[in-house]
């Protein structure tokens, strides 16, 4: 919207400084039946608070710009609350702490954190604050993005679209009365089976920054980008959807060792500016490639779930359904804006 240096940002916004406040306001006023704002925070809690009674709370959150994640998944059967940070910036501990306090029913609160330094540290500090109040808190740090090599000596892998499936499975379990310890066990079991990888056609423009996170030539794509325009592992000329699907699925196969005797859930995720038509075409190719390996996913979902502002691109998430309960949890009914 505002000219900034030579760049021009074409967005439907007012002041770049207020995007999160205005977005949160729009969301809670559009959907009061699902979410309510915890006063003076950007934390949104379930409107149907009765549905949380006697259950462990599940709280997620992170930077804004990934809508409908996180608040779009708040509601019965899924998250108890979600905390929004500034764009691509972890929320602060005081806000996370407020959300934890608001959802706790004496059974403890489970935190779903994506593996970014900021998120990990801010959620940790919030956990400390909550524990000082006597609230039991456990957490999982999701690191499903296989684009970066894993290593003990680095930050490790990022948390991306697979987090949505983690929310779904934990939310269903919590709704059915799982304890804090049981949720931790489920999360730990799901984590190594959950793998995501993305390709970008363009980068996101953070409103306060005013220009794209990176530049791709008119005919270039980048494999392995993160959801904050973190660079990926290779740039090349754009290829047909089938070739993109092949590249990404090969990477996932390398990690999960796809096996026709096993069951899988597939999430095809648009990054914000990619039309559903392209997402369905890509899904067609992914399903074809899996079918060549005699794999037919037991659960499929296609759409914009973990976006990156106006980035064009797509990600594949495969979850190996090592436990039959996970499939049931994915199909468990929910009352949310966006699932």
């Amino acid at each position: 919207m505002f000219a900034k240096g030579a760049e021009f940002m074409k967005k439907i916004i007012n002041d770049p400084k207020n995007v999160v406040a205005e977005m949160v306001d729009g969301m809670v006023r559009a959907y009061p039946q699902y979410v309510q704002q915890i006063p003076e925070t950007f934390a949104l809690i379930r409107s149907n608070q009765d549905s949380m009674k006697g259950k462990v709370g599940v709280v997620s959150g992170g930077g804004s710009g990934h809508e409908p994640t996180h608040a779009g998944f708040v509601g019965q059967g899924m998250l108890s609350a979600a905390v929004a940070g500034q764009v691509f910036t972890s929320p602060t501990p005081d806000q996370i702490y407020r959300a934890i306090k608001a959802v706790d029913q004496g059974k403890g609160v489970f935190l779903v954190v994506k593996n970014y330094s900021g998120d990990v540290m801010n959620f940790d500090m919030a956990k400390d604050l909550a524990e000082m109040d006597g609230i039991k808190v456990k957490s999982v740090v999701v690191d499903d993005d296989i684009a970066v090599e894993n290593s003990l000596y680095t930050q490790g892998r990022r948390g991306v679209a697979g987090t949505v499936l983690m929310h779904k499975i934990l939310g269903a379990a919590a709704d059915q009365g799982a304890s804090l310890t049981e949720l931790k066990k489920i999360a730990q079991a799901v984590l190594p089976k959950l793998k995501t990888i993305a390709v970008a056609l363009s980068a996101a423009t953070v409103p306060e920054v005013g220009k794209p996170g990176f530049e791709l030539a008119d005919d270039q794509i980048e494999y392995g980008v993160g959801i904050h325009s973190e660079p990926g592992y290779r740039r090349e000329k754009i290829k047909p959807a089938k070739a993109l699907a092949t590249e990404l699925l090969t990477k996932i196969d390398h990690e999960l060792k796809l096996d026709s005797n096993k069951q899988y859930a597939l999430l095809v995720n648009g990054m914000g500016a990619t039309p559903l038509m392209e997402q369905y075409i890509f899904t067609h190719n992914v399903l074809d490639l899996l079918a060549e390996e005699n794999i037919k996913p037991a659960f499929v979902k296609v759409g914009n779930f973990m976006t990156s502002l106006d980035m064009a691109g797509i990600s594949i998430t495969l979850l190996e359904l090592a436990d039959a309960a996970w499939l049931k949890a994915l199909n468990y009914p929910v009352e949310t804006i966006a699932w």
């Binding site: 764009v87 972890s90 005081d94 970066v148 930050q155 325009s229």
Partner: protein
């Protein structure tokens, strides 16, 4: 060197001004190897610090440090928020025992490392806090020490924070948190000169 309330206030003012002036540059550095928001994050933080200090008028150093920490923790977010926040919180805690700057910074750096798990050479702000703290202990902190520390992050491979996703491609870029930490300590030198 002892830190007084007065000296601290002029230090933090000087730093705030610098961050606001260099906001775009810090974000530009961050967009090279991170997500392009470090300047915006920190600017939001120091603005809150200024507001907090003006509103609350702290009467002693510990209170001022704690207010700074709280403003940073609750306004910056991202990685820099808990890191800078923890550093100032540790200084606040320590300041009730001693106002010796070298000791305050020793505590701060330890807190920083505990919070973020970064070691020397991981291409983070720690690569500035460690040598600066060491120099202060020897009472020989100079602009050169700071500049050298900041510059030392350029050839490194990032091991922590978003830049770590770049692996080898992080080589050749300054770490934005190191640069902002450099501003913090340059501001300290300015504040000292003023006295």
């Amino acid at each position: 060197m002892k830190l007084t309330l007065e000296k601290y206030l002029s230090w933090i003012n000087e730093f705030s001004q610098k961050v606001i002036d260099k906001k775009d540059y810090l974000s530009d550095l961050d967009s090279k190897i991170g997500d392009g928001d470090h300047g915006n994050n920190l600017a939001r933080g120091v603005t809150a610090v200024q507001q907090m200090l003006t509103a609350k008028q702290p009467q002693d150093l510990t209170a001022a440090l704690k207010l700074t920490a709280m403003a940073l923790i609750s306004k910056v977010g991202g990685a820099a928020g808990p890191l800078y926040g923890t550093a100032f919180l540790e200084m606040a805690k320590t300041s009730s025992q001693t106002t010796e700057l070298a000791e305050l910074l020793t505590a701060a750096t330890a807190g920083l490392q505990k919070r973020g798990q970064a070691k020397a050479g991981d291409k983070t702000m720690v690569d500035v806090w460690l040598p600066v703290t060491a120099a202060l202990k020897n009472a020989d902190l100079t602009s050169t020490v700071i500049e050298k520390a900041v510059a030392s992050t350029k050839p490194l491979v990032a091991k922590r924070g978003r830049a770590s996703y770049l692996g080898e491609r992080s080589i050749g870029h300054l770490d934005p948190g190191a640069v902002s930490s450099g501003y913090l300590f340059e501001a300290l030198l300015v504040a000292e000169d003023e006295k």
